[in-house]
Each structure stands twice: as C-alpha cells, then as structure tokens.
C-alpha cells in the first residue's frame, strides 16, 4: 500500500486511475494540473507519481522535474501515462528515468509499473 499522486487534466481519467489504484489498496492523491499537483504534495510527498504528459500549463515532463526538485521528492518514482505514443515521446519520458505507459492502458500494466516503482525507483 502506497501513497500515489495521479495527475491528468482529464477528470475521467484521473478518476479511472484512482478507482484502479484504490481497489489495489493504495491511497490516491488526485490533481487536475501541474500547479495543483505541486500544491497538494508540498506538505506530504507521495511514494509514486502517475503523470499525464500533455496538459495545459505545466507538462508532465516539466512537472516531473519540479516535483523531483522539491524537498523530500528527489528520488520520486514517476510513471508517465500518456496518449502520446510516438517513439520520441516515449524516449523523452524514459530519459527522465521514468516508466512510460500509453493510453489506453491495461490495468495490470499499471499495477506492474506501480509495484516495480516501489521496489526500484529508477527504470533500468
């Protein structure tokens, strides 16, 4: 059981990921934008973050850098969950040492990514 930050500008997707992770016994912190994510995590850092990539305002990639620049989150494991499926998009996400899942996602792949993130924060 972990504390997981879920950020996506589409509320239906935030809720879908939330339902999936809660059913696995995790505690989920939801945010609809990068700014909101920074606000809700400033007091209480999550164990893992699931981030959309294309969002108005801060992109997921920028948010990833900012979160890891914050106190207590230097080694925050990040899983990108994005509808951007081109090889260069996936490469950009992975270059930050993050895992990358494409939308639509398979629930079991999300669970695998969360579980392996908790064990080994950096993608090999």
């Amino acid at each position: 059981m972990a504390r997981i930050l879920v950020v996506d500008d589409d509320p239906d997707i935030v809720n879908l990921v939330n339902i999936r992770l809660r059913k696995q016994g995790h505690k989920v912190v939801m945010a609809g934008s990068g700014a909101e994510a920074l606000a809700v995590t400033s007091e209480d850092p999550p164990d893992v973050a699931v981030l959309d990539v294309s969002m108005p305002g801060l992109s997921g990639l920028e948010l990833c850098r900012l979160l890891r620049g914050s106190e207590g989150m230097t080694d925050l494991p990040v899983i990108f969950l994005s509808a951007r499926v081109l090889p260069e998009d996936i490469e950009a996400g992975k270059s930050l040492g993050a895992r990358y899942l494409t939308k639509p996602f398979v629930a079991s792949a999300l669970f695998d990514a969360v579980n392996s993130s908790l064990k080994a924060p950096d993608e090999p």
């Binding site: 589409d10 239906d12 997707i13 879908l16 339902i19 999936r20 294309s54 509808a83 951007r84 499926v85 081109l86 090889p87 494409t102 939308k103 639509p104 996602f105 629930a107």
Partner: protein
C-alpha cells in the same frame, strides 16, 4: 570566385573555361552548377540562356520537393494530434468498460454483458484504426524506425494466432500452424508481429464460417518464407495488383460489407520491405487467398542496436 578551389583545379588539370549557372528557387540561389572546359570558349549567349532555363527548372523542382516534404511533416503532426485527441476519450471508454465487465457475473446478466462486450470490441477496433492512421502518416514523413533484435518467427506466428482465436472460434474456423525449425531471425519483433496480426486477422475476417486458416513457415533456398492461406471469399485477379495500395479494398470485401479501411496490407508491405523482404498474393474468388512474405537472409551487419530504414 571566392574559394581557392577553382583556380587550383584550373591549374592542376589545365582548365581554361568555366561557366557557372545558379539554381534559383523563389528568388534565392539554392545551388550552383559549374561546367569546366579545357579549351578556352567564346561567350555563347544561347548556351547561357538554355542553361539558365535548366537552372530555373531544377530550382522549381527542388522547391516543390521541399514543400511536399513540409506538407508531409505537417500531415504527420496533424495525425499525431488527432491520434492523441482520439486516444484520450477511448482511454475512458475502454477503461470504464473493463471495470464494468470485471464486475461479478450476476450483477450484469448475460444479455447486458454481451452488449458491453460488443461496445468494447468496437472501441478497440477504433483504437487500432487510430494506430494504423498514425503509422501510415509516419511512413510519409520519411521512414519506419526499426529495432533489430534476434527473434523467433514461430513464436510471433503463435502469438498472432492466439490473438485471432476468439474471432476464429466464433466462426468455427480451423487455425493451423506448420513450421520447420528456423534459425533466429534479426528483425523488429513488434513490427513483424504486426504483419502476422494483420495477415491472420484478415484471413479470419474474410473466411466464411467453417473454413480454414493455415500459417506456414519455412526456408526456401535460404529465403525465409511465411504463407498465410485461407479458404475465404478471395480477390478478383484484376484487383490483386492494387491490394497493397493505401485505402484499397477488394470488391469482394465491400460487397460482403466486411468492415475495414484498407490500411492493413499497406502496413504489412511497408514493414516487410523495411526488412528487405517482399510480398505477393495468389487468390481465386470463392476459393481462398494465400499471402506470401519472403525474407532473404540479412546481409552480415554490425552489431548495432537499431537502424533507420527508409520506407
């Protein structure tokens, strides 16, 4: 002129005359064609005028190629955007459907469950269409990036057959795989898996109830041969030459109202050719169709992880 190259050349091989003509496109000099002659030449106005027409023509051609590749790039960006915008709502459609379908059996009832399975199947069909459109747009942008690794063709075929099994069973089709022992092949497993998926799902789609789909793998004179044979509706011989064209659909397919957009075989051909292979088809209406892929042994290559192959 500016550099020291021409005077040097002139001295080295005793050139006495030089004529330079600009390649002009849209008011800019895009390049220069330079002609040399060993003997001194008189200035020839008609030659200069002919050559400058050539220079202009080449300039126009370059300009047109340039705008075509710009247009392809913009088209690629457009498809990437459309793909992203379609995938986002599809994520919710497929995701929430999965949640419902995972609910306990008696909470739904068989009839409602069947309706939802139909919705789910169609949402996934839409998703694979989005993926196919993005794929061909990428081809236009100038290539198909491949990741070469050792792979097992038999396993690729088995996986694709497994994926096609539910559909095949609903039509009571026999699926068969026959193969001789194959050496590991160096190729892009994901892309080649896609060619098996496309060929086998086509075969299943176009074969009437009770029919048969057979996949054969073998080596013929060093060439790795894949054949996917069905007992389906077949393709008229006059249309077989167009099968691999984008958005082409055989009259037998449209006549039977079998769904599809005509991208599957375009994608197969692009992937096979990017591996140095070739595609062919033989078919008879009402009898069935056999697609044949031939992969010549790859030339000895250096041990690089990936390479860019032009489409």
């Amino acid at each position: 002129m500016k550099g020291g190259l021409w005077p040097q050349l002139a001295e080295d091989i005793a050139l006495s005359a030089v004529l330079a003509l600009p390649i002009v496109g849209d008011g800019n000099v895009l390049g220069v064609i330079v002609l040399f002659h060993r003997a001194a030449q008189m200035r020839d106005a008609s030659l200069i005028s002919t050559l400058s027409i050539m220079g202009n023509q080449i300039g126009h051609w370059l300009q047109r190629k340039h705008s075509e590749s710009e247009a392809d790039k913009q088209k690629g960006e457009f498809f990437a955007l459309v793909s992203h915008e379609l995938r986002t709502p599809l994520t919710s459609i497929v995701g929430y459907l999965d949640l419902i379908l995972e609910a306990e059996a008696d909470a739904l009832g068989d009839e409602l469950r069947d309706y939802l399975v139909t919705v789910d199947r169609n949402a996934k069909r839409l998703l694979s269409l989005v993926a196919d459109l993005l794929f061909v747009a990428r081809l236009d942008e100038g290539g198909l990036p491949l990741e070469f690794k050792d792979l097992d063709f038999v396993r690729l075929a088995e996986e694709a057959l497994e994926a096609a099994r539910p559909m095949a069973e609903s039509k009571r089709l026999t699926l068969e795989l026959s193969s001789q022992a194959l050496a590991p092949y160096r190729g892009d497993a994901q892309r080649l898996g896609q060619t098996f998926d496309n060929l086998i799902s086509n075969a299943v789609k176009f074969t009437p109830t009770g029919g048969r789909v057979e996949v054969r793998l073998g080596v013929d004179d060093g060439v790795l041969v894949v054949e996917v044979q069905d007992t389906g509706i077949g393709i008229p011989s006059t249309e077989q030459g167009h099968l691999f064209e984008r958005f082409f659909r055989a009259s037998t397919a449209t006549h039977e109202a079998i769904p599809g957009v005509g991208l599957g075989l375009t994608i197969v051909k692009a992937i096979v050719e990017a591996h140095g292979g070739s595609t062919s088809v033989s078919s008879e209406v009402g009898e069935g169709t056999t697609f044949r892929l031939a992969f010549p042994p790859p030339p000895a290559r250096d041990e690089e992880g990936g390479s860019e192959v032009a489409a």
